[in-house]
Symmetry: C2
Amino acid sequence: MMNNVQQLQTPAMVIDRAVVQRNIHHLAEYAKKVGLKIRPHTKTHKSRQVAAMQLEADAIGLAVAKVGEAAIMSAVCDDLLLAYPPVDAARATQLAALADGRAVRSAIDSTQALEVAAAAARSAQTTIGLLVDLDVGLGRTGVQSPGEALALARAIDSTVGVQLDGILVYPGHVWDPADQQRPALTAVAALLEETLDLWRRDGLEAKIVSGGSTPTAYQSHWVPQYTEIRPGTYVYNDMNTVHGGYCELKDCAARIVCTVMSDAVPGQVVIDAGSKTLTSDRCISAPESGHGYVAEYPEAKITHLSEEHGQVDVTACDRKPAIGERLTVVPNHICPCVNLQDTVWWLRPDQPLEPMAIDARGKIT
Amino acid sequence: MMNNVQQLQTPAMVIDRAVVQRNIHHLAEYAKKVGLKIRPHTKTHKSRQVAAMQLEADAIGLAVAKVGEAAIMSAVCDDLLLAYPPVDAARATQLAALADGRAVRSAIDSTQALEVAAAAARSAQTTIGLLVDLDVGLGRTGVQSPGEALALARAIDSTVGVQLDGILVYPGHVWDPADQQRPALTAVAALLEETLDLWRRDGLEAKIVSGGSTPTAYQSHWVPQYTEIRPGTYVYNDMNTVHGGYCELKDCAARIVCTVMSDAVPGQVVIDAGSKTLTSDRCISAPESGHGYVAEYPEAKITHLSEEHGQVDVTACDRKPAIGERLTVVPNHICPCVNLQDTVWWLRPDQPLEPMAIDARGKIT
């Protein structure tokens, strides 16, 4: 690694700007080729600067998980989708205020959320666009059948303050290798088609059918009903996407620089990155792989995390890292790691590291 | 729950002040009875206000994990122990500056850390007190034998800029039920005695022998060599300390208030607290218990966390929580949860909730 990484106080997150640009443009090319729009999920980076890079690369808008994230992103984007139901009055009121002069939409799966959103929009004299959240297999949120989707769509369509804009799905259950996703995504397509058919017969239109996740992003053409996809992780990638086969290590843009602070225990070194830096998230496709990938010592394994300690088994390494040595770790799951940083550092060839604030960190509501 | 909890924007952490006071005083009474000093570890609360409450209850100083935490706590305490080796010049320089007018100590397990700390102290014209970190069974950091402890103590004793203040141990491997800890702690005592005997024969004194953890806190009398203990979690407690049998549910002071945002999937509700609120830390003694304890629905089980979603299996509950209903979750591991909050809320009878900043949140170096 170049630049002044050796002078960084650790642990710190560095982000390779060229890799981010490549990841953004690679997806933009795919989407253009198959006729899909991209609405990146900003929960991964929580950064206006990165959101602006995605928008410059033809993203049509942004997805957010929280109303607080929507407020932050409203400074760079006027087309926002809250992929989360605003079931309480406080959230809905904030969302309705953001809809003044912007396209603001939300996904819902209940009439309670519908009523709260509509009341807030009427009160603010704005319109919130609503997508019906349809469960396509993850079993987390979403109405459970095309019939339920129709019922909720009808309720939205007949409610003042909101408008029916379409359907949102999240195929977060699909972690098959990319070339084996066709059956699962074909099932998603069938469920969507059945739902859309019911809507059409009822005179209801779904101008947006929003899908996607990073693991399925490049297989989105198997769901021809999609008008847009909302991947988040693809912008940085992580060991989840590497082990799943959705990218290569060279596509992992965001890494934790840390320092070896102990080698007292034989066969082990300890780094200053623990669960308060790397999180306790295991790698979904390879839970036995440990708590991240040590770039300089591929044979090393991060076996255990305490809050501020990472224990690294180095028995398989040719040489043992020295106390004070800098190591670079690719996290298992980059999104919650970014959320632990106030500031990250842009890495560019032959330039000093440049800080970037995580604008939406701490926006928990 | 009283007060304006229903108006809180969720997810939010509320802390019952009476429970915190009781936890602090309960430990203080025990320590007084067995003749031990308490140096609470502030990594749990990262709050000057809570640290001040501990110091008012006769804590002799504070333990911190990071130099940044030491800097924050230096505003309320002039006796600080960094339970972490400052192996790089930046950390050591900050630590040496804090030692101006304060008792500042650090634990180390290498001559590299010794040299860095001593150089920084000489440069700042201050003195850093050093404790030899001795591994008593966790296998994380710490010299591996009484002989190694003696060698490092000698090196410290002969180095200008630092002074040899004693020994630090962390029995973090002891998760036995309280009444079954005696054998493990007797082994710790034997190792300490062997080490101290070597030091005495060499004319070296350990005026501080610092031990303790929350699981072993009330069994510290089995290690008569201890002069002080450094528990952190005891101030708030969590499901780790409940399932370990070290406290009861009523002793859990800090809880996450969240909102039910979906009930679309049969037998399940979804709360707005996911891994960005509760963390992915499993309960050490009861990993199958799920991702926290839902106070209002003891039969519920938080089966899966996404970043902002908690899926709660309610099939065993008599009634199902409604969309919009507030639930209160006791986290598995409170320390990293506090670290995700910018502000938490003091809960007191018949008073409005009062915000408290997490002063040392984000102090990662």
